[in-house]
Each structure stands twice: as C-alpha cells, then as structure tokens.
Amino acid sequence: MDLTISKKYQDFRAEVKSFLEENLAPELREAGRFTTSVFSDSGLAMNWQKILHKQGWAAPHWPVEYGGTGWDIVERSIFAEECLKAEAPLLVPIGLQMCGPCIIGFGTQEQKDYYLPRMLSGEDYWCQGYSEPGAGSDLSSLQTFAESDGDDYIINGTKIWTTYAQYANKMFCLVRTSKEGKQQQGITFLLLDMNTSGITVEPIIGLDLVHEQNTVFFDNVRVPKANRIGEENNGWTVAKYLLEFERGGSEYAPSIHFQLQKVKEMAAQAKTTNGEPLLNDHTFRRKIANVEIETKTLKFTENRIKAALGSGQNPGPAASMTKILGTEISQKVTELAIEAASLNALILQPEAIEPGSGVDPIGPELTLTAMPRYLNTRATTIYGGSSEVQRGIIAKMVLGL
C-alpha cells in the first residue's frame, strides 16, 4: 500500500494555477463566487468556456482525438480543485459532460464531426430533455412520442425541469418510438434544434426565485432521423452509457470542503449575544467539526474510487454512494451557512448576486449566497436519481436485496 501522493503532479498544479491567475478576469471570478447552484451565470460561464477552449482545456475528460486533454484522473481532479479555489465559473455541464460523451460513444462519424467541435467551442448551447411531468425517478416511463414520417420524426409531448432551455439552441432528449415490450425498449435518443417550429419554452421559477428550469412543449415538431444517436429503440442503452461515463468524473468533497471554509469565515465575522465570534461558540464549532469529519469520510471514499479507476477497476455502484453522500453533506453545509448568516440570510436581494450588477449588498457580501444556496441545494437529492433511487440501486446491486 503506497499511501503517499506522488510528487510528479506538482508541476502540473503550478501550471494550472498560473493559467487561472492570468485568465480569470474579475467578472468571471465574481460569477464563480456568486454561483448558488451547479450552474453559474450562463453568459459568463460560456465566456470562460471559450477561454478554456483556446487553451485546449474545455473538456478534460474527453478522449484526446475529440479535443480532450489526455490528463489522467489525478490531473483532472487537480484541475477541478484549482478552478474551485480560484472561484472560476462552473462550465455548463449539459453539453460537455452529458451530451458529448453520448455522441462520442454512439454517434456516427458525421455526427461527431459536426456536433463535437461546436460543443467544445461553445457555439452550441445544449439543454437536456429527459424528465417529463409523469416521468421523474421512473424515467423510462416517459411518454413524449416520436412518430416516424419518412426521413423525419414528428414529436408530441412535454419535457420538464429543462435547465437553461431559455438559452439553449440545441436539445438532446429521450423520446418514445415504440409502445411495445418493456418500457425501456421503446426509447430513442435524439438531438434537435430548439428553434424548430412547434417548440414552446415556459419558465419555471424556483423557490430561490431563480429561472433555471423550464417546461418544454412539443407540438408536431419535425426532427430529421439523421439526428438520432444510436439505433431506434436503443436510446436507453445510450442513456445508461452516459451514467457509466460519468462515473469517477466529478468529485463532491473538494467543493464541500471549500464551502465549509466559507462557513468558517462567516462564523468568524458573525457575533453571538456576548459579542464573541460565532466561530468560538462551543456548540457551533462542534457542528462544524462534525460536518468536516463527515466531509473527510467522503474525500477518502472518493480517493479510494479514484485509485480503483486509476488501476482500471470498475467502481460499480460506488457512484450512487458518492452521490448520496455528496449531496446530503453539501446540504448540511448550506444549513450551517444560513445558521452562521443568521438574520442576514433572510435579506432578499437577488440583484446583488448578479455578476457585474454593481449593486451594494445590504448585509455582508459573504452572506449573500447563503440562503439561495440553501434553497437551491435541496434539489440535489432529488435530481439525477433521487437519494431514494440511489439507495434502491445500492440495495439491489451491492447488497443483493
């Protein structure tokens, strides 16, 4: 067992750091700092993607022949960690992280040649059409129907929780092409243009008052069959491939740790009734300590998974475990943040966290994001397979129940 961290990555870290120092303009850092969900300000995130693309770093996890960096898993996590520390905006993951791998895995050469460069450069802005009003955790029960009509499909139905559909010019979606057999068997993976006639986007305002989500209606929307990824009725395989590709990708612990440090800063500034910093309060300090310890359990669980991936093993349902832990622990951190922010957390001033707005915060700047994060983070244990679905996966796949 070699438990030391190899020194060969130090140069790489230095290179990433100096790149970030040179290229992260103040308004980009502000977009990162004021991020209250897994999405940063849309426009600034795209600006940042263009800068990274110029450097060849927009999609580190892609194979090199499609524009990836060729970094190993350690280098990728060093890059992610340094971006986090520098408060870079989060890249919109829907194209680069979600759709891209599906095209790489199942697309034709022609599809790869057309879509991937536009995705990398940020020319195309993608949204994801998976969930439907009647298909949430039970995704494969989706009903949006694509009827065959010559070289086209004609789509009717509704997609929901479509993040940033209001900005997107492209969508990748799952549609039903057959009602025969098991419900997973009649699903097809399609790409489409959001400006096609018959598509209507309606906003859903979140409980944090942010417009991230939308409902997308399809009324006889004509999509060429050439836009299909993989075989007809084989979309579930494509969708599952994405889940496998995602495994060992992102880590939760570094950003949770980072947010926890911010809670400590907040608690150092806040005063308790006797005028002492909240950070010195025995009870609050122990709460922080408890969450910090649990964050370490996640960090080393992720290290173990990385080590397994590095030596070519398949982590299997470990991704379900880290999703449960990552989301549940980060919710605890956002709870600590609103406790530390106290009354300042109640001030409703969304305009003050719009990057570049120049609006002065009514309370301390540090507490501005506490409540929006607390509210938004409730979603993390619901989306992407709820915590209950993940526990179901572990019960079946690991415990054999």
Binding site: T4, I288, L298, K299, A307, A395, L401
Partner: protein
Amino acid sequence: MDFSLTEEQRLLKDSLDKFVQQEYDFESRRAIVENDAGFSAKHWQTFADLGWLAIPFSEEAGGLGGGPVETMLLMESFGKGLVAEPWLTTVLMSGYLIENLGSEEQKQRYLPAIVQGEMQVAVAVWEQQHGFDNQVVSTSANAVSGGYEINGQKEFVINGQNANCLLVSAKIDDGNESSLGLFCVDTTIPGISTQAFKTVEGGRAANVTFDNVVLDESALLASGEAVEKAIQHCMALGTFAVCAEAVGIMELLYNTTVEYTKTRKQFGVPIGKFQVLQHRMVNMFILYEQSQSLLLMAAIKLSEGGEEAQQAVSALKTWIGQAGRKLGQESIQLHGGMGMTDELNVGYYFKRLTAIDALFGNADMHLDRYAKALS
C-alpha cells in the same frame, strides 16, 4: 495514492483471516473468554510462531517493522472474530512505549520476551479523576534511596490481571521539581493490589492500587517531555487500533444483517424485500464504507507522522463512535427478537462497538478535541 496491498500485506491478511475463520467461530470464542485469563495461551503461542507479536517492532529490535497499515489489517481481522488475545495492549501499546522510551538493557529485558509470547505487559495510565487526560496524573513516585516509592490508583488497565509487568505513569517529585515518569512495574512486588473484572463484551481489565510500592531505579523507563509525547502517541496508536477493530466489526455486522433479512420471512416474504429495511441497510453499508475511508486517512496521517496525525485520529474516533453505535443499534433492530439474545453473536459485536466508543475517550470527547484544533 495506491490503496492496494503489498504482497507481504496480502499474505498477512490472508493468514489473519484464515486464523479467525478456523479458530474463532462464536462458540470457540465463548469458551476462550470464559476461561480464567480471558484469552487462549495456545493462540498466543500461535501468534508468536506466526510472527504477529513481532509486527510493530523495528527490525533492530527483532521485529518486522510493521506500521499503521499492518496494525489496521490485524485489528480489522481480529474485529471480525472478536479476538480476545491482548495484542493491543501487550504488543502494540506496551511494545511501543518500551521500544521508544527504554534503555538498551530495558529493551533487551522486555521486547524479546514479548515477541516470543512469554510475557504480558499492560498499560496503566488512566486514572478515575482525570478521564483521558493522560498528562495530568495523581499517582506519585517519590524518590527514595536507590529508587522510587509509588502510591496511587490506575483504572481500567486492559488485561491488567494477566500482566507480568505494568507500565505505570506517575508524577516524580524529587523535592525541587516534578515531571511525568513511566515505570515498568513487576506485578509480584509487594504493595500492588489488583481488582480484576470482566467487561460487558467478554474482555478483561483491572483497577490497580499501588500502596507504598518500592521500585529500584532500573524500573524507570524515562521521564519528562519524552514520556508525555510517547504516552500521547501510544494512545493515538491504541485509538487507531480499536477503530480498525470497529471497522472489521461493522463490515461483519452489516453483512450478517443483510444475509439475515434474506432468510427471515414475515408476511410471506423475506423481510429484506421491504424497501424501508433496504434503505436502512444501505445506510449501514454506507456508514461502513465511510468508516473504512476515514480509517485509511488516519493510517496515512499516522504513517506520515506529522502534526495532523492527532487530529486525524480524533476525527476517526469521533466518527467510529457515532457510526459504530448507529450501525450496531440497527443490527439489533433488524434482527428483531433474536438480536436480543445471548445465543446470537450479533449482541457481542454490538457490545464491543459500544465498548470501543468508551475506550480512549468517546465520540464527544474526541469531537471536542477536534473542534478545538479546527483551522
């Protein structure tokens, strides 16, 4: 970071697991812990023959030079069998103190005897009135002609009644200044009275009173700051070791519980088919995985030997205290009425996890320590 085992470590783990599997089924263990000593002299000799009593000692001292990883492997395996032999106190903790504080002559007197399985040594540092603050000591060692006179009481000396020698911390007062001393006390010396008792999970410990116990100078291992540091590190090693034992127990308990719910039928189906129980067992599995991860973190920090080691051990003990209690309680609940019986082994694993939380300072104490050092 590479978490895979070296060839030697894999062989060690295999032989440990094989021993536990062959020699430590539940009924065999019951017989072992019910004999006078509370452990098996035959097994102890096997440990010596297999080299397990030499694991943590340096090669110069005739040991195998094992570190935290080897301790972890051994204690995890021992946890799965609830192994009663006093490796923790005689080999790991006492061995560490003697090897690090003793003179050449003292090392020669004790270490080969420990390695060969001929001697039991116990650590007598905890006192009723000072909890787990091992730096504050009421037991006194007054300088007398040619040696020292010890007075005081030590509590909960693990394996104390079987020890040939006790490592006793005492405040040395030579009239001018006082310092902390550590003594190797032969238990046949007059003035030592031992109140031996069984512990809830089948272990053995003793409260030991020293009443004008006269020692010659050669009994002193060391004094001053070196002793303070060594005791602190010895306690970190012991804490780490029982946490590793707990992780072994947790692995066994969650697996046992899952298997039980696959066979126990109620309402016409195996109870493991109920989602509410499945999710509780998934939580047990996750608690075990988190514990395993934190154990590895502590192994890394202890191997590096830096400042962070103490903090990592406190994080680990806090976590194991909380997670172990939760996982143990869930195991009982999911076993239903059978979980409440002395007949089933689950209760003993549960009681050992409960005991581990109390040993070396419980979750609250270590959380407090961790919180104070928060950065």
